[in-house]
Structure formats: structure tokens, C-alpha cells
Amino acid sequence: MDIKRDYYEDIELFKSNTILVWSILFLIFLGILPFLVMKYHLLGMSLYIVNLITIHALVAIGLNILVGYTGQISMGHAGFFALGAFTTVILILRWSFPLWIALPIAGFVSSGFGFILGLPALRLKGPYLAIATLGFGMTITTIIKHMEFFGGRMGLQAPKLYLFGTPMKDIHYYYVIMITAILMTIGAVKLIKTRVGRAFIAIRDSDIAAEAMGVNLTYYKTLAFAVSAFYAGVAGGLYAFILGFINPESFHLIMSITFLAMVVVGGLGSIMGSIAGAALMTFLDIKLQAIQDIPAIGPALVTFSQKYMSIAGISNVAVIVYGLIMILIVLFEPLGIFGFWIRTKRYWKTWPF
């Protein structure tokens, strides 16, 4: 039943009852996930990691709208992320806004900057755009670092938030983050299916052809940047609270590259892929940071490091693994986890033939 009879059938969120049932089950699973995590600590998971994964998934979805769907590259997403984080914290700290107002404002501040960055992007292709966005990402943190208003080099302490008079804990943040993430994921899925999303895809496939078909390049390219920055900004605002402390030094170039890696590993042009990529890469990152604690591999690596390498830099193995994953994915599975999923699905559909 792959025939679509009208447009509304195409943009429908739940294509069939099976998907609807599975989605509801998945939502219930997400609802009880924090209790499962706190009780069983499967794979050494903690609520902090789950929260971090969700936030990274948000950024990855936003970046995928830009890179995967519109075909524009951004190496400055840590900059938008930082803008969102600092805006949220300052709004709450200085003017005591409530979180649910501060977050969207942070998103819009970020998307404003995204819009400005999108303007030069109109004239730039691939490599040049990468340079410009790279410069943006590195410059925005420099500016934040040198302005007293943003707490300067020391950074800012995220304010304590209260829910009905009790201070919010990780589990409360989990629900805040998860609800935001679900809403924004649905938003992204819908966006891609509508006129705007199809314009993005047309620009990715060939911007000249898209322009000839009547797609307004100026409008849609800057819009892609703005939407993408909005996601990063909101995610940054949430990030400030699960970290409890933000410092301009932490939003460095490597962070932008990590976001890009999540999108590429998950699969360019796939929302679900972005979530999977963010989950995998965040989990790997946190586990590999403490590689000496992993059984079997850890001690061997420690002895190896003592002999040939330096023991102080053993957490850098995480960076190496990250880089290798990026290279290998591009070389062997350009569609990432999403491509792998599609191939597996196709294989099992016709199994055993």
C-alpha cells in the first residue's frame, strides 16, 4: 500500500495503525525510561547520559535539516549551541524569565544569528561555506569569552530551577528535555514533508534546477540556517541546565565536528538516523573517555600507554575512534546507520530469497 492518493495522506504522521501502536508503546517506554535507568544501570547508563543523548539528538536533527536536507554545510554549530546556552542562562539569571519562555527566546536569538550567517551562504558553495561557518563558530566563543556580560572566561553558573517550590532534579529535567525533543522531532518530520522541506531537498539536489522551478533560493537557504540554528539554540539552553555550568571554552571546534559526525554517522537526510547517530556517538564518547575502566581492553591499553604513549592522554583514544568512525562511514556506508537499517530491512523483506 505505497500509493498515496492525496497530499494529506503523504504528510500524515502515522501511516498505519501498526505505526501508531508502536509509537504509543515507544512513548510509554520513554515515559518509564528514567525509572528503568535508575534501577538497572544497564551498560552503565545514567540519567545524565540519557539527557545528553536527547540534547545531542536535538542538535543533530537541526544540523541534518541543514546538511542532510538542504545540502549546506555548517562547521559552526557549537557557536549556535553556545548562543542558546548563554541566552537562556542570562535571561533566567538577570531577568528571571521562566524556562518555557527563555528557551524559545534562546532558540530565536540563535536562529537570528543563523539567518545572518545564512546571508553570505547564498553566495558560497561547499568549501567556502565550511570556512565561513568554521570562522563563525570559533569567533562567537571568542567574543563571549571576552565580554563581562557573559561571565567572561569564567563562564556562568546555571540557576537552580524550582518546580512547585521544590528544586528540579535530573529526572525532572529528563521530562522537560524529552517533551521538548519529541515536539521538535515531530516538527522536523512535518517540516520535511511540507512545501518548505521539499524546497530544501530540491536545493540540495540542484540549486540551479530548484531556482528554475521557482524555489526562492534566498528565502529557503537562510530559512534552513535559521531553523537549524533554532534547534541548536534550544538544545543549548537545555544543555546549560544538565551541565549546571557553562564556560565558553567548552564550545570549541571539536564540538562542532562532533555534531557533524553524529549527523553523518546517523545518515544524511534522515531524522531517525540523526537520533541514532547522536545516541551512538554520545554513548561511545562518554564510555571511551574512561577507557581504562572498560574490562579487558582498558588494562591492556593502560600498559600499552605506559610503554609507548603517555598515560595522561589516554582519554584521547576516544578522539581517535571518533575520527576513524567518521572516515570509515564516509568510505563504506555513506548513508550511515540509516543506510544500514534500510539494507537490513530490505534483506529481511525478501528473506530467504
Binding site: 553570505p120 570562522g135 571554552e249 559526525a261 576516544a318 568510505l331
Partner: protein, 315 residues
Amino acid sequence: MALLTPTLTLPLLKGEGGGRGWEKEMFGQLIVSGLAVGACYALLAIAMVIIYKTSEVLNFAQGEMAMVSTYVAFSLLESYHVPFEWVVVLTFLFAILLGMFFEIVFLRQAKDPTVIGLIIITLGFEMVLMGFAGWKWGPDQRSFPFPVSNVETYNISGLLISKINFWTILITLVLMFILFLFFRYTKLGIAMRATQQNQLAARVMGIRTKWILSFTWAISSMVGAVAGMLIASLGVLDPPMMMDPLLKGFASGVLGGMTSLPGTAVGGAMLGIIENLFGGYISLSFKSVVAFAIIVLMLCIKPSGLLAKHYVKKV
């Protein structure tokens, strides 16, 4: 992954004394030290442009390739006490192997890659190298034992030039001249330029374009290694040391034109001087914003750069 992005620490003469003579002197000092840093940016940018012209790959790993080469030189000097001349030779050898390794093992394997795909591959390699350097040599900051002192100065008609700045400029000029001769007169250099202009035609003429690509990476990596050693001796040696210069290298490339070697050299020198003057007279803490401002301005006004021919893609 807590990485800092340090800015180059320069022997800037911040004055206690006043007076007009000092003002003039400071201007000269700023120009000279800016020129020295600009020379390093130019070398790094040239290394990137050599690759960009041949294979349309923007090499984000250039800085880290240079950094690892510099670390190799550092190890040879400190741990094995090899004399400096031999260190230079061995480091060049290492850089050449590193560049060819990357081209043959990773880039060549990519089957009809997109621009984004190529960028991701170089970024991945950057992270591998960064991680490797952090693992092997640790996160400490070290000073690179360059045989020229960075305290002593030459006095050229009243203008004090620190020895290291002088030699940096000199080495850069010599290297650029050698590159010029190489691309103009040697057979390999001409084959490289032919490959840059039209790969298919070059192959028809009997040039082994695949090997030319590897050689391009080798030469670029070598030029980068020189830049790395100079930058390390002007500042400090630590794994994230090339993050900032990488952006400056791109800025020089954009300023002079990403497809023109002399343009890039001029762009690097200009960027170094502008940046240093900005740091000296306007604001030291916002110095690194200059590079980004120049990138954006140039891309808005003249995207092809100052000295490159404008090139429009036909449909």
C-alpha cells in the same frame, strides 16, 4: 576532549614609556612581528591551496598534520638528540610519508565522494591525528627548541627585529622561492600544474595523475610541517596549537584567492599585519575576530580573492 584554543603569543612590545619616537617604533615592531606570523599563515595557506587546486579537497587536517610533524621533530630533538639539520630532513621525510599515507589509504578509497563527504574525511583524519598527538605526547604545553633564540634581536637601522621573526620571514621567502622554481621549471612541477588544469587531459598526455595527487599531498604536508615548526617556535607546542592558525590560513587563502599561490602568500602577510595592528592599537582580546571578519568581508565583496581570476561555474 577539553581543548583550548590558544592564540599565538607574540613578543609584542607593549610600552611603558611614551613619546612620539616610541609610537613610531611600535608601529614598525607591529609590522615586523605581524609579517613573521603572517609568513607562517601564508605557508599553511599555501599548503592548503596546493591541495585545493589539484583535488578540490579543502584539507581541514592540514593543521594537525603539521602539528604531528612538529611533534616528531620535537621528539627527535629532545629524546634522541639528533642534530638539527638531520631533524629537519627526517621531519620532512615523515611529513611526506604522512601526506601520501592519507591520500592513498583514505582519500583514494572514496568512490565519487561529495564535497561534504571529502570534508568529513579530512575532519576525521584531523581528529585521529589530534587524538594521536594527545595520546602520545600528552596535553602539556612545551616549547619547541628552535636553534634561533626568540629573545635576542637584530638591530636593522633602528628597528629591533627578534632573531626568530627575522629567520621566520627569511625561511618562508626562501621556501616560497623554491616552490616557485619547482612549479615553474621541474618536470614534476609542470606535471602537477597540468593535473591541476585538467586531469583527464593530463592523463591522456601520459601523466600518472594518481601519483601526482599523492605527490601533491606529500609536498603540501612538507610545507605544512615547516609552518608547524615555525608556529611552534613562535608560540608553544601542544596538541590544539594549530586550531587558530588553521582558521587564519583559511582566511589568508580567502583573502588572496584560494586558487592562486602568490595571492595566498600576499594574503597571509596582509592578514598577519592587519591582525597585529588591530591587536596593538584597538583591542588585543578581540584580535582573533579579525580573521573571521576578513573572511566574511572578502566572501561578500570579492569571493574569488584579491589576486585570483574570477571563475564562474557554467550549468
